[in-house]
Amino acid sequence: MNANITLGQFLPGDSAVHRLDPRTKILLMVVYIAIVFVVKSLTVFLLPVVLLVVMFAFAHVPASYFFSSLKPMRWLLAFMFVINLFATTGDTILFQWKFIRLTQEALLQAAFMTLRLILLVAGTSILTLTTSPIALTDGLEKLMSPLRKLHFPAHELAMMMTIALRFIPTLMEETDRIQKAQMARGADFESGNIFQRAKSMIPVLVPLFVSAFRRADELAMAMESRCYHGGEGRTRMRELHFHWRDLTATLLLLLVLAGIVVWEKLPL
């Protein structure tokens, strides 16, 4: 049903990016987001674009994934573009018709914002495409563990995320099944106005919630019967280790960030 959603999907592989420590990847993603936001001019934007292409190449992710990661965002992107196009004021008028006015500044600004959003989405999709959900939450837990001193439930949060991610495909499958079962009884999810459609989802949502609670119960029971008692003193099967490649990647990205900051400051 929703198999074409790339956002948050993991693509198993053995590329250089796949083998990076998840903590490195999360931190580098923060650096990458900073890079995208630091850029203020269209020419400098070339750098993060090149960076993105290089990342995709190193991760061995086919270009088709780039487009499918943007697909669910297409309406938001279009919306951003249009809003910026007409909400930005400028002097260089390209086109005017009655109260509609299109300026060069607005066009630039709209292109700029849309490009920024595309870079953000496509860049972060590399993180989820190359990092298994388990590794991702492991990394997050490790990164958040210093906060435990402040009674921040890092382990519990990571465990909740792991379980939530684990159950997304299961619940999708379940939705599909229940939907089909109700369609077989003549339910119609496709016609009618928005209220009728929302109402037609009740026969799907009620069984879905019932089964989600049932699964949660079963999972809790299964975890308890295997002596799960929270993160206290819990060791892990795969310890995370930093390698030289983590250092290399970090240095490279910091170099790009520094380069961009310098380039922005230089009068070009």
């Binding site: 198999a3 074409n4 089909k180 077989a184 009884r185 003549g186 026969p203 069984p207």
Partner: protein, 284 residues
């Protein structure tokens, strides 16, 4: 008029990197009032096949006609779905209404029947599955027992008075008594209403006992269709596919190995029992 499946192929996610051919080139007819058993190893395409019977899945190539109606025609789909009742695995997980009565009425209401007609259908269907309407109609479906839930869900489909009933492992996870009740219900539907039955099952004994014909699916292809005799006479091939033989056939083979000469290939336990009892009496 029958359900006619012609050269049906189905591929999941066609054209993408994840494309997966689940069915290829299946030609099969289900006649009126026939009981067709569908067997096959897990992943052989049984569930994919049965979802084509009422247009929940559409053929990637080939066609499916229900009483001459093409499932690809969007306008006919509602009509097709009221002709072909579909009971999924664990149908109790589709219950959603506040009362059993309202849940069972969901199908008939969707068919556009008025309240009076829907109410008649509800009590009729509840009686069929052995739930007394006086006792169960006002109960919440969530407070029933497992077996009762399944029967209530089944009633929800029978209330549409389908001409064909397609069932995906209707007896899974039921106790022996629950199994017998469901099987007896299916048999009586066929006998009293002439409902055509398509039943997917992992139980060779059940299909051997009830089916007129058995379709054997293997890796998305129709390996064999035939009477239980024809199908179960090819035991070695079935075992090769990860399937099994009915207990009666297994017993016949074991007895032959021990030197008991049984000429006929039995596949129904009741017939074999009769033969063995007769033999025993004769010997005494």
């Amino acid at each position: 008029m029958p359900i006619v499946i012609e050269q049906l192929s189905h591929t999941y996610l066609p054209g993408s990197a994840l494309a997966y051919p689940a069915l290829s080139d299946i030609t099969l007819t289900v006649s009126d009032g026939e009981f067709l058993g569908v067997i096959g190893h897990t992943g052989s395409g049984k569930s994919t096949l049965i979802q084509h019977f009422n247009g929940l899945l559409l053929p990637t190539s080939g066609s499916v006609h229900v009483d001459g109606l093409d499932t690809r025609e969007k306008k006919l789909r509602k009509q097709i779905r009221s002709l072909v009742g579909m009971v999924f695995q664990y149908p109790e997980y589709q219950l959603f209404e506040e009362t059993v009565e309202r849940d069972v009425a969901f199908g008939p209401k969707n068919m556009g029947l008025d309240d009076a007609e829907a109410a008649t259908r509800v009590s009729e269907a509840l009686c069929l599955v052995g739930l007394d309407p006086a006792e169960f109609a006002e109960k919440s479906p969530f407070e029933l027992s497992g077996g009762e839930k399944r029967r209530a869900a089944l009633a929800g489909i029978l209330a549409m008075r389908p001409k064909y009933l397609v069932l995906d492992e209707p007896m899974a996870c039921l106790d022996p008594r629950g199994r017998r009740e469901i099987l007896a219900l299916i048999e009586s539907l066929r006998r009293d209403f002439g409902t055509g039955i398509v039943m997917v099952s992992h139980s060779m004994d059940d299909v051997a006992m009830y089916a007129d014909r058995i379709a054997v699916l293997d890796k998305g292809s129709l390996y064999l269709v035939g009477s239980p005799e024809e199908v179960f006479s090819r035991g070695a091939e079935l075992i090769e596919m990860g399937l099994n033989l009915p207990q009666a056939t297994q017993l016949v083979r074991a007895l032959r190995k021990r030197g008991v000469p049984i000429e006929h290939d039995y596949f129904r336990m009741d017939e074999l029992t009769k033969e063995l009892v007769g033999r025993w009496r004769h010997e005494r």
